[in-house]
Structures are given as structure tokens and as C-alpha cells.
């Protein structure tokens, strides 16, 4: 594999881990965030500082990067996610700003706006791929079971969910903490891949890219998120020469998908049994749609 192709695969794994986190939060729990790149930044700087300055083993550093992101998410999530409304979305902008301000003014610890060089290049293809496989395994298992059903119930109708005995605030916070953990891990891997990080890498544009990936793949479909990561990461690479249109494209994706097909490319379907069945219904005629119709 050429170095360039290898780099793209690593980038795919890194993006996929973060996107799975955002997918859990936005797609499965219905919480909109504008600051997930902030959690990536936390993971990236944590891992960079721990490996370079304190000579931690890189795996420990990556995991601690995820843990710190999760802790920060918890602190922000508790006051905002107990409320119904767009409070978390607004607070998440504030979070992104605050993290950037802190990193830029962090003195010798974060080395300010000019960036943090010399991070050990621990993110090899094998490391990135192993992390991706393990994180995907956990995520797909999680959504296929009682937690997945609970998250979706809180997303679809929080009043009905609380009348089925769910503490909806608890599940919303759990979802945020897990998604921040995924983003933190992703950021830590990115730091080890690039060897150099800068606060500006984790700006609104990165957050928007993650949300666009999830929306394009289909809210409530983890498989869709993964397909979408591949499509959007590759498109971004292909269109690098005209990168000034990149944000315009992300913005347009968000609007067009919401207007035309809010379920995204995959709807809520997952690979495997369910998808097979859907395809069969599509081709052999759907015997349900005749009697039901839209209500």
C-alpha cells in the first residue's frame, strides 16, 4: 500500500470513530451538537501532552484522552441535558469556543495558537484499524440491545419514554458522555497520525463535517454513518483543490438532506438481516404498505 493510500485509510478510521460518536448522540438520541470537534481537541492535546511530556505508553494516553473528553462532556451535559430545548446546542458552541480559548492561551502546556509539534507518530495503520474495529464492535453491540432501544425512545418521544419508566435525562447524558469518549479517542489518534496539532484544526468546520457525515448517512443508522464517512472523506480528498467550496458543500448537504430525505441515505436500516429483508420487500413488493398508508 502506498504511503498516501495508507494515510487515507488511517484518516478514514479516525473520522469513523468520531462520526460513530456523533451518530450515537444526534442520530440515536436526537441531540444536536455544534462542538464535537472540541472533544476531539481535548483527546488530541491530552494524548500529545501525556506521550511527549510524561512519556506515557501511547495506548494509555489515547484512552485517557477519551476519558477526559467524557468527563468534560459530563460536566457540561448535566445542567444542559436535563432541560428540554436547544440548550445543549447553544452551550456546545460555547464549549467549542472555550476550549479553543483555553488551548490558545495555555502557555507552555499547550503551546498556544501556533500548534503543538513533535508528537510521537504512534498512530500506525495497524493501531488505527484496531481501534476502529474495537470501537465499532462496542458501538454496534450497544445500539443493538436495551440501550439502543432506550436512546431511540428518548429521541422519538421523551414523554412517552419517561412514562415507560426511563429517566430520559440520564440516557441523554450517557449518550453525550459516550459520544465525547469516541471523539476524544479519535482526536488522540489524529494527534499521533499528524504528529502536529493546532487549536484551529478543531474548529466549527470540523464539528460541522462530523454532523454532515452523520446526517448524510441517515439519523439513526450506524451503518449509514460508516458508508457516509467513506464517501465524504474521499470527496473531501478529491476536492481538496477547491477547498473553499468545502464548507458550502457541507452546509448544502445539511439543508438538502433535511428537506428531501431527512432519514439520510440509509434511513434507519442497518446491515444484515434487516437490510436484506428491506431489499426483499422492495423487489418483491411490500405487502404492508397497501393496508397501512400514512397516518
Amino acid at each position: 500500500m502506498s504511503v498516501y493510500a495508507e494515510g487515507i485509510v488511517v484518516l478514514l478510521c479516525v473520522n469513523a470513530i468520531a462520526a460513530m460518536g456523533v451518530s450515537l448522540l444526534t442520530g440515536f438520541t436526537g441531540i444536536f451538537s455544534l462542538g464535537h470537534a472540541g472533544y476531539m481537541a481535548v483527546g488530541a492535546y491530552m494524548a500529545a501532552i501525556l506521550t511527549l511530556r510524561y512519556e506515557f505508553h501511547f495506548i494509555v494516553a489515547i484512552l485517557l484522552g477519551g476519558v477526559l473528553a467524557a468527563i468534560i462532556a459530563y460536566v457540561i451535559g448535566v445542567p444542559t441535558l436535563k432541560l428540554i430545548g436547544d440548550y445543549y446546542a447553544i452551550a456546545s458552541i460555547g464549549l467549542g469556543e472555550a476550549i479553543r480559548l483555553i488551548l490558545e492561551n495555555g502557555g507552555t502546556i499547550t503551546r498556544g495558537a501556533r500548534g503543538f509539534p513533535g508528537i510521537p507518530p504512534y498512530t500506525t495503520l495497524a493501531v488505527a484499524f484496531c481501534f476502529f474495529i474495537i470501537m465499532a464492535f462496542f458501538m454496534f453491540n450497544l445500539i443493538n440491545g436495551r440501550f439502543g432501544r432506550a436512546f431511540k425512545a428518548c429521541r422519538d418521544d421523551y414523554i412517552a419514554a419517561s412514562l415507560l419508566g426511563y429517566n430520559t435525562a440520564k440516557y441523554r447524558i450517557l449518550s453525550l458522555v459516550l459520544s465525547a469518549f469516541y471523539c476524544g479517542i479519535s482526536g488522540a489518534l489524529l494527534a499521533g497520525f499528524l504528529s502536529f496539532i493546532q487549536p484551529i484544526m478543531f474548529d466549527m468546520m470540523k464539528s460541522t463535517e462530523l454532523t454532515s457525515i452523520v446526517v448524510f448517512g441517515g439519523l439513526g443508522s450506524m451503518t449509514g454513518t460508516l458508508i457516509s464517512v467513506v464517501i465524504i472523506t474521499l470527496i473531501t480528498e478529491l476536492f481538496r483543490p477547491i477547498s473553499q467550496y468545502r464548507m458550502l458543500i457541507y452546509g448544502a448537504i445539511l439543508v438538502i438532506v433535511m428537506v428531501i430525505r431527512p432519514e439520510g441515505i440509509m434511513g434507519q436500516y442497518e446491515f444484515g438481516r434487516k437490510l436484506g429483508k428491506t431489499l426483499k420487500e422492495k423487489f418483491l413488493g411490500n405487502h404492508f404498505s397497501k393496508e397501512g398508508g400514512k397516518s
Binding site: P79, I90, I93, G94
Partner: protein, 293 residues
């Protein structure tokens, strides 16, 4: 003493500009129950229309201002028609509206970036900025007094519209319950268009003042974050709340800048947000958030 008074006047002036933005945003929130992140885009559109009317068409400030308000109002209505109405009609999931509004915000900002470029532009000196001595007590700029006055006038007009006109009454009914307003025979789509038009116009007024204060650039709309925070402090969806929240933020920013450090003024905004969420999450004037079951 005079520095304090001066910073208070500056704070009130900045707060009044936030109020123009926050009130429009809150008005939309109260009717549609979603946070319209494209609101900052309307402000930028208003600013650029004013800029080009003054520079390329050579109009006076009154005509430029009028065109700017009209253009931003129309842009807001078009945004609603193109991006939100189809979603509203398909589902009542406000998450979709939230995502679409984020998309529209990025689209508007980047249309300016790719067409006319991202550089900073200064508006011609249309608003006097010379110093004014207030009864010998303090010195402030005419600009601050004018922006305070303009905000007062426009918010006053809004208040009259909401209280005295038929559509104002309908908007207030819709803020209570949009579906019931629809059942009472109000043309809901028209009502929403009017709401967006008002929000766009107020944003344009704010945009012109911000462009004079800070110069004009495509990302100027990002400053609406502060108006969002002001709306949360006052209580999401409450108009008096939006005004009070804005004034509090404006004062806090200017007093911080004047007496502590101007680098901390942005951090103070988020500090207020966090305190509000911890102590009184529904905001100063917020209704208790409940849904009819």
C-alpha cells in the same frame, strides 16, 4: 467614576445591539420552538446590502438602511420557505429544523466567502462617532448613543406591532400554541413568514451597527452566539427576557473589558451562560417548559 459611567453607556449600547438580534431570534423560537442558527446570516446579508448600497449605488444612509432591512427581511422569508417550510410540513421533529438552520447558516456565510471574498470591509462613516460630553460627567461617543436610541425605537415599533395589530396578536397566539392558532383560522404559513420578516429586519439593524463597530466580514454572523446566550439568560422564547439578557451581557462585557481585561470579555459571556443553566435553567423570564399531554 466617569470611566464607570462611560463603560455602562458602552455596555448599554452593545447590549441594545444584541437585543435587536436576540429579540428576532427569540420571536422565531417562540413560534416554531427551534433555535434558528441561520439568524446570524440575516445580519450579514443586511450588512452587505447596506455596504454595497452606500458604496456602489451611492445612496444615502436612509435608503441604504431601508434596502438593507428589506433585503434581510426577504432573505429570512426565503430561507424559511426554501429550507424550513418543507421540513415543517413533513414532520414535527424540530431536530431536522435545527440541522437545516445550521446548514443555511453555513451556506449564507460561504456564499459571501466564495463570491466576494472573506476580507474585512469598513462601512463609510455613515453614523457619527465623535465624542459627546454628557453633562460634564462622562464622555462617550455619539455612535453609542445613536445605537441605543435606534434599538429603543425599533423594539418600540415591534412592541406596538405585537400589541396593536391583528398579526401581532396572531403571533402572540402562535407563541402560545401554533397549532391552536392554525385551528382558529390564522394562515399559519403567512404568519410564520411575517415572523421571519420581522426577525430578519431587526437582525439587519443590528448588523449595520455591528458592521460600523467592528467592520464587515462573512463570519460577522458568528456574533449571534452572544445573542443566543442572551436569549437563554432571559429565557428562551421570551422577548422581554431577550432584551434584559442582552443588556446584562453587554454590560458584563464592557465592564470586564474596562476593569479587568479585554481578553476575558468573551469568556465572561460563557460564564454567564453556565451560571444561568446551573442556577435558573429556564432563564430569568422563562416559562416552565411543559407540553400538553
Amino acid at each position: 467614576m466617569d470611566i464607570l459611567l462611560q463603560q455602562i453607556i458602552n455596555g448599554l449600547s452593545l447590549g441594545s445591539v444584541y437585543a435587536l438580534i436576540a429579540v428576532g431570534y427569540s420571536l422565531v423560537y417562540s413560534v416554531l420552538m427551534f433555535s434558528n442558527f441561520a439568524h446570524g446570516g440575516f445580519l450579514v446579508i443586511g450588512g452587505y446590502i447596506c455596504y454595497f448600497a452606500l458604496n456602489s449605488m451611492g445612496t444615502g444612509i436612509l435608503i441604504a438602511g431601508f434596502l438593507s432591512l428589506l433585503g434581510a427581511g426577504v432573505a429570512a422569508v426565503v430561507t424559511e420557505k426554501v429550507a424550513y417550510q418543507p421540513i415543517r410540513e413533513n414532520t414535527n421533529n424540530t431536530l431536522y429544523l435545527l440541522i437545516a438552520s445550521m446548514g443555511m447558516s453555513i451556506v449564507i456565510e460561504n456564499i459571501f466567502v466564495v463570491t466576494i471574498g472573506g476580507r474585512f470591509r469598513a462601512l463609510p462613516a455613515i453614523i457619527p462617532t465623535q465624542p459627546v460630553h454628557l453633562f460634564g460627567l462622562a464622555t462617550t461617543s455619539a455612535f453609542d448613543l445613536i445605537s441605543l436610541l435606534a434599538a429603543g425605537v425599533f423594539l418600540g415599533i415591534l412592541q406596538i406591532i405585537l400589541v396593536k395589530t391583528k398579526w401581532g396578536l396572531a403571533i402572540r397566539a402562535a407563541a402560545y400554541n401554533l397549532r391552536i392558532a392554525g385551528l382558529m383560522g390564522v394562515n399559519v404559513n403567512l404568519l410564520i413568514s411575517i415572523t421571519f420578516f420581522i426577525a430578519g429586519t431587526l437582525a439587519a439593524v443590528g448588523g449595520i451597527f455591528l458592521a460600523v463597530r467592528y467592520t464587515l466580514y462573512p463570519q460577522l454572523g458568528a456574533i449571534t452566539i452572544k445573542a443566543f446566550v442572551a436569549a437563554v439568560i432571559g429565557g428562551l422564547g421570551s422577548l422581554p427576557g431577550a432584551v434584559v439578557g442582552s443588556i446584562i451581557l453587554g454590560l458584563a462585557e464592557m465592564l470586564t473589558a474596562g476593569f479587568i481585561s479585554s481578553q476575558l470579555r468573551d469568556l465572561v459571556v460563557f460564564f454567564f451562560l453556565v451560571i444561568t443553566l446551573l442556577v435558573r435553567p429556564q432563564g430569568l423570564f422563562g416559562k416552565n417548559i411543559s407540553e400538553k399531554v
